[in-house]
């Protein structure tokens, strides 16, 4: 997301907000990845078998480990790209919060079972 004049409304002293935006969006992506992986593993026997990293915990071990890796990787990539920039924080925070709320809903079994 490129910065524009309206992006600067989010920062009042001119210091870049990119690092914060990267952390917020990556957290949203990580949470959403967890919900998506949980649903995908529930619907695919091969993926379910692939995600058993620790047998006593079963597929939950792989779902959570991969989601954490997705979170940390996206955080690293976004941090590198945005740390010296001022970005459209309002939109980014909106997307991140939407991803987080969707994750909360998608982990709810009656909703997850719709897929």
């Amino acid at each position: 997301m490129k910065s524009s004049d309206s992006d600067l409304r989010g920062t009042q002293d001119g210091t870049p907000n990119g690092s914060g935006a990267a952390a917020v969006l990556a957290a949203g992506i990580g949470c959403f990845a967890l919900a998506l992986l949980a649903i995908a593993a529930d619907n695919s026997l091969s993926l379910k078998a692939l995600l058993v990293f620790y047998k006593p915990t079963g597929v939950l071990s792989g779902v959570t480990t991969v989601a954490i890796l997705v979170w940390l990787a996206s955080w690293g990539v976004l941090e590198r790209r945005w740390k010296k920039r001022t970005v459209a924080l309002g939109r980014i925070a909106g997307v991140a919060l939407a991803l987080l709320c969707l994750s909360l809903l998608l982990t709810f079994p009656p909703i997850a079972d719709l897929f």
Partner: protein, 190 residues
């Protein structure tokens, strides 16, 4: 006064790490909300800032400790499969819950939601701690960022509350027990 080792670890997971996290959440929410209000910025000192840094890092550690003990210690005991022909299912909580239609939903809805939703909490809390450490008092100049962090901590609190509620209910209907006994105190029998 005795506990089984599995019961004791369940207590450490839920009443220790989890409950402490939930208790700490209200303080973090109030402090972050206070910092989002422009009229309180002047009263925030560098000492207040250091305190919030430590507070959020402690919350993140508690959140990680809760999900890691839950997923890698308690959950394997919870989902253990009873050998064929086992008469009592008390040592196999998941099977015990599923064996009765009146309790099956505690697993199919409660545990199935809890085991995933709880993991949103450490991710969101770690982000909040990282942003607070990175920006500190300068967060006042990034009101949208402050509001986003507050939103994440609020949803993390909700997720932890859901996981905590179902954890308590699951333990009430099918407690995770087993292992050696840990004696805390010896009482007089009458």
């Amino acid at each position: 006064m005795e506990f089984t080792t599995r019961g004791l670890w369940t207590l450490v997971h839920g009443m220790g790490f989890g409950a402490l996290y939930l208790l700490a959440s209200s303080g973090a929410l109030v402090e972050l909300y206070r910092r989002c209000r422009a009229d309180t910025q002047a009263s925030i000192t560098s000492r207040d800032n250091l305190f919030l840094n430590v507070y959020l890092v402690t919350m993140a550690v508690l959140a990680w400790a809760t999900v890691l003990t839950g997923t890698y210690m308690i959950y394997p005991w919870y989902r253990a499969v009873a050998p064929a022909g086992t008469a009592g299912l008390a040592a196999f909580p998941q099977m015990l819950l599923r064996s009765n239609p009146a309790t099956a939903a505690w697993h199919s809805l409660g545990m199935e939601w809890k085991e995933h939703v709880g993991w949103l909490t450490p991710i969101a809390t770690t982000m909040a701690a990282a942003v607070q450490i990175r920006y500190g008092r300068n967060l006042k100049n990034h009101p949208q960022l402050g509001a986003a962090v507050l939103g994440f901590v609020l949803v993390a609190f909700l997720a932890a509350g859901i996981a905590g509620f179902f954890g308590a209910m699951l333990d009430k209907h099918a407690p995770v027990e087993g292992g050696s006994m840990v004696r805390l105190a010896q009482g007089d029998s009458r």
